[in-house]
Symmetry: C2
Subunit: 206 residues, 2 copies
């Protein structure tokens, strides 16, 4: 594309670095910004410059937080002996939205992915092992995605925690509520039969 302006070209290139944004969408964003007042543009710019500079992570669970400890970790009504291990803060938000989980979290900030050059030392696994070694945790719930990388990370953490006496569980995989059996994939359907649950459990809606 010929943008007839170096400034526009630079900005389009910057925007198209965002995930899922191509040149065409980037150009749409740029045209939108060009129509905003200088104040609005600087407000936009300030928002994420501040974010990058001032954002803190919870010292205990590595979730994002404006304070040294996040709201979940500070909450005395949560069960601090149950820890749900997730990939990033989006998963925390998703689980919090269900309002079904009363334990705390541990955010890995990624998953083991040799293809992207991400090894165990790039994640917060060591901090998880230390928490477990301190002996305060009774159960770890692995809630990573069922990809090759997720499975690898699950297995790595499982091996690291084997020597400690605690329960390691994973979230239930099965047919989503409302889904038709005939359209479910074989792996999920197979696992949902193997890991069947007592009928009474499906009646309990808290």
């Amino acid at each position: 594309m010929n943008f007839s302006s170096k400034l526009i070209e630079d900005t389009v290139n910057e925007f198209s670095k965002l995930p899922g944004v191509g040149k065409r969408t980037a150009l749409r964003f740029v045209l939108h910004l060009m129509k905003q007042s200088p104040d609005e543009v600087s407000q936009f710019s300030t928002a994420f410059t501040r974010l990058r500079q001032e954002l803190r992570y919870c010292a205990k669970c590595h979730n994002v937080s404006d304070k040294p400890l996040c709201e979940v970790c500070l909450n005395p009504h949560r069960d601090h002996s149950t820890v749900c291990v997730v990939e990033d803060i989006r998963d925390v938000m998703a689980i919090e939205n269900t309002q079904q989980y009363r334990g705390v979290y541990h955010v890995l900030n990624g998953i083991i992915s040799p293809m992207d050059g991400i090894g165990p030392s790039d994640l917060t696994i060591e901090s998880l092992v230390q928490k477990v070694a301190a002996g305060e945790i009774k159960e770890i719930i692995m809630a990573l995605s069922t990809t090759m990388e997720g499975d690898t990370t699950n297995f790595y953490i499982y091996k690291r925690l084997k020597e400690y006496s605690l329960t390691v569980s994973t979230i239930a995989r099965g047919i989503a509520i409302g889904d038709e059996l005939e359209y479910a994939d074989e792996v999920t359907l197979g696992r949902s039969i193997v890991n069947r649950t007592p009928y009474e459990n499906s009646l309990v809606i808290k």
Copy 2:
């Protein structure tokens, strides 16, 4: 959504002001930026702050330009007596990409849209009328979209230019090359029959 951080919430809100971006996509952008180095983030921010402050428009055709006049207007090999009227710079890029047009442009920077509070005075129509009044233009090609707003703008410009002796044409509307007749909408198909062109014209590929 509960973002558990005011900084993230602010940035997500700013990003979701971009056209076609919802909270979920905005959060994806924010997570991407959080993983970038401070240098990369400031580079991103500088790009569009500079754009907003330094971007200039061509004094003649109102296209974006880093110089007082844009490359098209400065080009002596272009036909300066034929002016194609378009809504915004994306249309200039699209037409330039065809490499079929040798005239110059006039960018309206919008179309008349009472719903959005955009009247003729918000556009560069006055400057177009002045150029026509100066007597250097032989033909105006209207290349606006065939929406209610586009038609209104076409008609308004047509009325403003009626007193001057020049040709006002619109780009050809018809069945796109490669499209099946049976799937074409009735209005387009009807117009393509009324505005049929001599067979020889379809053979000329420059």
